[in-house]
């Protein structure tokens, strides 16, 4: 065993995936001490996930490829120690929650890692339950994995790694589907544990870290304490500075005609567990509505109801014109051999419209390529082009910023705002910065059985008379006429994290 004083020591690491044209990591050197909290920032595809995999030993053991340099974690050289040997010392939360789940029972899923690392049998379930409580999902203990929402599943996966009480916690975009209720993810790690968190929402992690590493094209451009890093980001990569969602200026587009109206809508997947009850909502042409709420509050269900993909158990949904819906992880839902054909599928094979939509999302040059040859970000833009090509009267996007870096989010805001006048747009999101940048008003849902957390005034200056709170389990906030948005993060307590914590504790 090599002796080293650092918890992590990476020396001149270069790594190239098999058959890749260039290196994913190029000359990376860094050290991390026990107890350090590090934010790993950088654009999509810059090598953040690969670096985390190298620290977990998965690169090169699981992925193969060309590996040069060395990575030492807690004295173990990852070239000689397999990932399973590092488990327990290192715990990794991957980006895709659904693809790291082994069991179909929540509690057993959390217990799986504890069993593997040899935890005494009597301690396994208590530690699993404590971890679920830390991740804010103690209530899911007896549930099936298939029954929980995407955000809840991400919390279950977070609990799975927290349960191991590792010395090094690697988090790959842990907040992509998480509501703000969980608060500071980084501080959930145990005392003395080092945390490295790759994140595309800097405002969620920067307040909690000591240090920032910025990676681009496989190289470390910045490795500095937080304050110094903030100055560097301000100069070199301002899009990555944590932002508070400033009130948006009046859009200047008055409310158009009614596109969709929900009247006393109730929906339940299980009779004993209603998701939405007695809900009322109106959507008008020209507006963009951000649909927010904690994990499991029924946002995706509502999105599917308004687009007609689900039918309500009670109540009525009146809709005019065409509705299109972009799913979560849309890049996984492409079926054609060519990008152009994929986009043309929803418009009766009209290739001119398909090419126009591809140009709109900046992928005109990819029209003849196979969708699965594109990067994940490009695939998601293809999926966006698929729904934009249909020129819908009602466009619903479910978590469209998941995995997007700040610059791409900015592009998405511009794209949605540019086409907003011709349709009603609903954006399901956990990202308050994105919501404030793109939306005219916000609709908040509460988890069934809980009260709505606070009224959320609209950011739109027009008249929105029909958004009214109907029921505690699926409330939408009243929208005062002619009001402007307050700072959303201020409401969340970002200016005063302790106040936020008190707020959540109280509720």
């Amino acid at each position: 065993m090599a002796l080293t004083k650092h918890l992590i020591e990476v020396r001149d690491l270069c790594f190239t995936y098999p058959d890749a044209p260039g290196p994913a990591l190029d000359g990376v050197s860094l050290t991390v001490e026990a107890g350090e909290r590090v934010a790993l920032l950088g654009p999509s595809g810059s090598g953040k996930s690969t670096l985390l995999r190298a620290l977990a030993g998965l690169v090169p053991h699981f992925h193969g490829g060309r590996f040069e340099g060395s990575v030492t974690v807690d004295g173990l050289d990852t070239r000689r120690s397999r990932p399973a040997d590092l488990a327990g010392t290192v715990a990794t939360l991957f980006q895709e929650s659904e693809e790291q789940v082994v069991f179909s029972d929540v509690e057993r899923e959390v217990a799986f890692g504890l069993e593997n690392v040899g935890t005494p049998p009597d301690a396994i379930l208590p530690r699993a339950r404590a971890a679920l409580a830390s991740a804010g999902v103690a209530r899911l203990g007896g549930r099936r994995v298939g029954e929980v929402s995407g955000g809840e599943l991400q919390r279950v996966c977070l609990a799975s790694v927290l349960a191991l009480e590792p010395r090094l916690l690697l988090l790959d975009e842990p907040t992509s589907q998480l509501d703000a209720e969980l608060g500071d993810v980084v501080s959930l790690a145990g005392e003395g544990a080092a945390v490295i968190v790759a994140e595309q929402r800097p405002e969620r992690v920067l307040p909690a870290v000591d240090r920032v590493i910025f990676v681009e094209e496989g190289r470390v451009l910045l490795d500095a304490p937080r304050e110094e890093a903030l100055r560097w980001l301000g100069r070199e990569r301002p899009a990555y500075l944590p932002r508070r969602p400033a009130p948006v200026p009046p859009r200047g587009c008055p409310a158009g005609g009614l596109v969709c109206r929900l009247e006393r809508v109730t929906f339940a997947y299980r009779e004993d567990l209603p998701i939405l009850e007695d809900l009322a909502l109106e959507l008008r042409r020209g507006e963009i509505v951000a649909l927010e709420g904690p994990n499991g509050s029924g946002k995706t269900t509502l999105a599917r109801l308004v687009t007609g993909l689900l039918e309500p158990d009670a109540g009525a949904i009146l809709r005019t014109g065409r509705a299109s819906y972009l799913t979560q992880e849309p890049g996984r839902h492409l079926i054609c051999e060519r990008v152009r054909d994929e986009v043309a599928l929803g418009v009766g094979g009209d290739r001119a419209r398909a090419l126009s939509a591809l140009a709109e999302v900046g992928l005109a040059g990819a029209a003849e390529r196979h969708p699965r040859d594109l990067s994940s970000g490009e695939r998601e833009r293809v999926a966006l082009a698929c729904v934009l090509a249909t020129k819908p009267d009602l466009l619903v996007l479910d978590e469209p910023t998941r995995g997007l870096d700040p610059e791409r989010k900015h592009d998405l805001v511009r794209l949605l705002r540019a086409g907003a006048a011709g349709r009603a747009t609903v954006v399901v999101t956990h990202d308050p910065v994105f919501a404030a940048a793109v939306a005219d008003r916000t609709v908040s849902l509460a988890r069934p059985g809980r009260e709505v957390l606070a009224p959320r005034p609209a950011t739109f200056t027009g008249s929105w008379p029909a958004i009214t709170r109907r029921h505690a389990s699926s409330s939408v906030a009243p929208v005062p006429e002619g009001t402007r948005a307050p700072c959303v993060l201020a409401w969340l307590g970002a200016r005063d994290p302790e106040a936020r914590q008190r707020h959540w504790t109280r509720h």
């Binding site: 399973a84 790291q100 069991f103 029972d105 040899g118 935890t119 396994i124 299109s324 799913t327």
Partner: protein
């Protein structure tokens, strides 16, 4: 009931149906298993029930035409090359019904296993050969996972205004489903390795205590097989 005990009982009922010689005994077993399957949520059970009952119906229809037993003809048909003289007798119908019920009972036992039992608990019950048991559990979940992926694809396409209809429409989903399934398999394997799977010295969650009905199920299983072999 603990899944291991329930699985043992279901397996015993399937064996009993194979051993029993009376149509009414096999019919009773198949009916009991059908009722058990109907306890599963409606959205899941239809596929499994179709998979169990359609082949049984096929056996019921085909058997009288391919068997040549009995002396009480109900219908005399033509002579068909290869198959010979087509006819239907009372005995052939009875035997077709018996074989169909037997097949239905066995497939319904598997359907009940897939629909009602917690495969995770079954895995936990396997104290030995954990790797193999986990492989079996993950393989068992392949069909529901593919079903969920297919539903996701159909939903995404409907969201763009594309309805998936007919055999050709569904066939287009096969290639992306296969690709998605392979990607998921790799990702799950990576996550399992990162979580220490395969490391020596692993431990297990203590199993829940056996209850009276679990013991009764285990006692009933060999008794059912014995009864099937001797009396039913």
């Amino acid at each position: 009931m603990r899944p291991a005990a329930a699985a043992g009982l279901l397996a015993a009922l399937a064996v009993t149906a194979l051993l029993a010689g009376r149509t009414e005994s096999v019919a009773a077993i198949a009916a009991g298993l059908l009722v058990a399957c109907l306890l599963a949520p409606r959205r899941w059970r239809s596929v499994y029930l179709l998979g169990a009952l359609v082949p049984a119906a096929g056996v019921l229809v085909i058997t009288p035409f391919v068997e040549t037993i009995g002396s009480h003809p109900l219908w005399n048909g033509p002579v068909v090359p290869v198959l010979g003289h087509l006819d239907v007798t009372t005995e052939e119908l009875a035997d077709g019904l018996f074989q169909a019920l037997r097949l239905a009972a066995v497939t319904l036992a598997f359907a009940a296993y897939a629909l009602l039992l917690d495969h995770d608990d079954l895995l936990a019950s396997a104290r030995l050969a954990r790797r193999s048991a986990l492989t079996v559990a993950l393989a068992t979940r392949l069909l529901p996972t593919l079903e969920r992926d297919a539903a996701g694809l159909v939903l995404a396409l409907r969201g763009r205004g594309v309805e998936v209809t007919g055999v050709r429409g569904r066939a287009r989903l096969l290639s992306p489903l296969l690709a998605t399934s392979l990607e998921r398999g790799l990702n799950v394997a990576e996550a399992m390795e990162a979580r220490g799977f395969g490391r020596p010295g692993s431990t297990r969650v203590p199993p829940p205590a056996w209850r009276v009905r679990d013991r009764l199920a285990l006692i009933a299983a060999p008794l059912a097989i014995g009864a099937g072999a001797l009396w039913l």
